[in-house]
């Protein structure tokens, strides 16, 4: 990692009121890679996501994106710089149609024509959504909603997509499909930062990973190394250390 990474969290300390959630958390997402952040419940994974997206300002530490300090910027400013998000539990706009949801992803874009072109391309990629365009997003199945959430994020033409537990609550079939899609998205040139509880599956597509435990990074490294790490295997993969 010689060149400066696309996204860099350096020495983040965040709090909810008096409670400290992060202790000196540092995470790097290099350009073009998939990085996953693993951890159990209440480890501070989702809060890390919030710190990146501007939904929470850390008390100390820095978030930089493409070399620019974005700590504490409001969410719209962060989206404008090229970070899109697939929020936890998808958070579609349930009473709006699929098409309107997708168009919300392109909210900040002014290039109307290429937005229309991107939409057509996306629908080729997610043919299922084409059939559902005029349906209310709230009426879709969980897997379909996840597709919409990912397509919506792509509509902003991001450099980085942050995904909060993209496989949560999906049927095993859809889990594989979603992981496959994340790989596709990454290969098309978009970097991915994902927060997951499902360690083995996340690591299977990631380049590198971090493990967060009660607010501290306790382990990090290449995905393949983490997958074979006895600690990980014990704590997250439910297998006893060899």
């Amino acid at each position: 990692m010689s060149a400066s990474p696309l996204l860099d969290l350096v020495g983040i300390n965040s709090y909810y009121g008096p409670v400290q959630v992060h202790f000196d958390v540092s995470i790097s997402v290099p350009e073009g890679k998939i990085v996953c952040l693993l951890g159990g419940n209440a480890s501070g994974k989702s809060t890390a996501m919030k710190a990146i997206l501007g939904l929470l300002t850390p008390r100390s530490g820095r978030v930089t994106f493409m070399g620019e300090d974005i700590t504490g910027l409001p969410p719209p400013q962060i989206v404008r710089r090229g970070i899109a998000s697939v929020p936890e539990a998808r958070r579609l706009f349930p009473a709006m149609t699929v098409r309107e949801n997708l168009m919300m992803g392109a909210y900040l874009r002014r290039d109307t024509e290429s937005v229309a072109k991107d939409l057509t391309e996306l629908l080729d990629r997610f043919p299922r959504l084409g059939e559902r365009l005029t349906q209310r997003a709230g009426t879709l199945s969980g897997g379909e909603q996840q597709m919409v959430a990912m397509a919506r994020a792509l509509m902003s033409r991001p450099r980085l997509i942050c995904m909060d537990e993209p496989t949560m609550g999906l049927s095993p079939l859809f889990v594989d499909r979603v992981l496959e899609l994340i790989g596709d998205i990454n290969r098309s040139g978009v970097s991915v930062f994902m927060v997951e509880q499902n360690a083995s599956q996340a690591l299977s597509i990631a380049d590198s990973g971090y493990v967060l435990q009660t607010g501290r990074i306790v382990l990090s490294g290449a995905a393949s190394a983490l997958l074979s790490d006895p600690q990980i295997r014990h704590a997250y993969l439910g297998k006893t250390a060899a």
């Binding site: 969410p75 719209p76 404008r80 958070r91 709006m96 919300m104 900040l108």
Partner: protein
């Protein structure tokens, strides 16, 4: 045909105005999750803007409408920016109370600028009527229907087909997710306030033209009607609000035809309570789509209340008791007596809204029940003061509790709306039940208070009697708060679900709070009635309820001593500086706004 056709046309025309109001309220509720009590004030501002434009600039009608829309939109944006946005991260009841403050300020400002006298607002339209099978429709009727339809169509197009409209809907459905799409939700709020206020202001102009008269008391009625219409359609449901407005307009029109004009508002409020009870999500929601509202009753984190040591409290009581001996000026003592009566009402409200967390906006209704009960017992049945007052307290406790019973199941906003409705219904029943209450004539010649043969005819004696009551009821309430009962009440306020999980039956405890509070408030109303010797259905109005809530917030929610302090400061001080009399509502409004923003825990802290 014939008259019923006229009632229908009339109902639809008025219904269109209600729809304009309701749509704005629904839009605002959608994105800001807030019932905007200042909406009716914007409506009034719109009417007066129109009057100003016509009177001074002689603008043609289309220009007037545009001017009113633009001016009202500016007012709306200002409300959002300066009164509400600073409260963004507070619990939802804080902005609701702030809009009440804004409405007091706007109403009083309009009154100061234009005087309270009604003004004519000629319609400018040709006096031309379209005959349809024996009846006619006027040009103004068509204009109002046209404005209603056009704005509904424009609004539909905006929300459905424009990017900004999508952002409005997205913000209403999930503000966090919307901001992650790059939507500046503050800006969306401002846009929505602008649109809603423009519609409301134009509604005010049209109503002024319809009745050819505008005055500064239109606000409250407009807010209420808009609110009822919105609730009919379902909180935050824009198309539902249009239908709700038309339904309300027709219901009122037919109701007046059948029963007479003084029943007009009674219909609206009865409809309100009925909707809240049987279909709180409105007539058009297929199922319970709304997420359960989080607790909105507590709007302040518990603070550390100021606790006076007992000797200091005793000293205050002694000073208060000796005060008339030192300064025996009737006017000052009467003012202080009024403040102490307000303190009695505030005890009741601070218990219900502070300790139990049920914001009540109709508390003056309890005073009315107490006042009428004691007054009628004394006048019609010759009961002595010492008997009629406690009887009034008891009847208020019983009647008041029965009346709010349907509201006790509700949470958050619904409680505030329902209690407001109940307060209004009390006053309207008093107005219409002529056989019992003498209707609009009111009760006159209520005997002066007397204990046995001793008439309490001096301001000093009355002051002492009320002071004794304040001390006794205050001590009782403090005692209750530290008892098992008090803890249970606070538990319900903090987390009703958790309280229920520990076996607390919230309904019963809420009812007990209203009963205890009703008793004190009934006594206060009874004494006030004997003190004033004349009361009518407007003596204890919603303005008084709003003042009471301001008093309670000023003192600190749940704080008994704070209730006394708040009452003395807000009732006695403005009275003593009499020059400020016409600015009084303005002062109350500003006080309320500043308190919610800078010191929500009140002067003495919440308990």
């Amino acid at each position: 045909m014939g008259p019923w056709f006229d009632y229908t046309v009339n109902g639809l025309v008025v219904g269109n105005i209600y729809a304009l109001l309701a749509v704005g309220l629904a839009l605002i509720f959608g994105v800001a999750n807030l019932i905007n009590f200042a909406h009716g004030s914007v409506f009034t501002v719109g009417a007066y803007l129109g009057w100003t434009a016509l009177h001074y600039l002689h603008t043609p009608l289309p220009v007037t409408i545009l001017l009113v829309a633009a001016g009202s939109a500016v007012v709306g944006v200002a409300i959002e920016r300066f009164a509400l946005r600073p409260l963004n991260h507070r619990s939802r009841i804080a902005p609701l109370l702030a809009t009440i403050g804004v409405s007091l300020v706007l109403d009083q400002a309009v009154q100061l600028i234009f005087s309270p006298d009604p003004r004519a607002l000629p319609s400018q339209l040709p006096d031309w009527r379209l005959p349809i099978g024996g009846v006619t429709i006027g040009a103004l009727d068509l204009l109002i229907a046209g404005v209603g339809l056009t704005s509904a169509a424009l609004l539909f197009g905006f929300l459905r087909f424009s990017k900004l409209g999508w952002a409005v809907r997205a913000t209403a459905q999930d503000p966090d997710a919307a901001s992650q799409m790059g939507v500046d939700t503050n800006r969306i709020n401002a846009v929505v306030f602008a649109i809603a206020s423009a519609l409301g202001g134009v509604g005010g102009l049209l109503v002024g033209m319809f009745y050819n008269s505008i005055d500064t008391t239109m606000s409250f009625d407009a807010t209420l009607k808009g609110m009822v219409a919105m609730l009919l359609g379902g909180l935050g449901n824009v198309p539902g609000a249009i239908a709700g407005g038309l339904i309300l307009g027709l219901a009122e029109s037919y109701g007046i035809a059948l029963f007479g004009t003084s029943y007009r508002n009674l219909f609206a409020f009865a409809l309100l309570i009925l909707i809240l009870m049987v279909a709180p999500n409105g007539l058009f929601s297929r199922r319970r789509e709304l997420p359960p509202e989080p607790m909105t009753g507590t709007f302040v984190a518990p603070s550390r209340p100021l606790r006076l040591p007992r000797p200091a409290l005793a000293a205050i009581v002694v000073v208060a008791a000796l005060f008339p001996l030192v300064w025996n000026q009737p006017y000052v003592l009467q003012t202080l007596t009024n403040a102490l009566l307000m303190a009695l009402l505030a005890f009741s409200l601070t218990l219900v809204s502070g300790t139990v967390g049920q914001i009540s906006l109709g508390h003056a209704g309890l005073l009315a029940i107490g006042g009428y009960a004691s007054g009628l017992l004394a006048l019609d049945h010759g009961w002595p003061f010492v008997a009629s007052v406690p009887a009034a307290g008891l009847s208020t406790a019983i009647l008041g509790t029965l009346m709010v019973l349907p509201a006790l199941r509700m949470t958050g906003h619904y409680v505030a709306i329902a209690t407001l409705g109940v307060g209004e219904i009390v006053s309207l029943v008093i107005l219409n039940w002529t056989g019992l209450t003498r209707g609009p004539m009111g009760l006159s010649g209520i005997p002066i208070p007397a204990i046995g043969p001793i008439e309490l005819d001096t301001p000093r004696a009355l002051y002492w009697v009320v002071l004794v009551l304040v001390v006794l009821l205050g001590l009782l309430q403090v005692r209750l708060l530290s008892s098992h009962l008090g803890r249970t009440w606070r538990a319900i306020r903090e987390d009703e679900v958790a309280a229920r999980a520990y076996g607390v039956e919230p309904l019963r405890y809420k009812a007990m709070a209203f009963a205890f509070g009703g008793f004190g408030a009934g006594i206060a109303g009874a004494i006030a009635a004997h003190l004033y010797s004349y009361i009518n259905h407007e003596t204890f109005n919603t303005q008084l309820s709003i003042l009471a809530i301001t008093v309670v917030i000023l003192g600190g929610l749940g704080n008994v001593l704070g209730a006394v302090l708040g009452a003395v400061l807000l009732v006695a001080l403005p009275e003593i500086f009499r020059a400020a009399a016409e600015y009084r509502m303005l002062i109350y409004g500003i006080a309320l706004l500043l308190l919610i923003r800078y010191r929500p825990q009140g002067l003495l802290g919440t308990i």
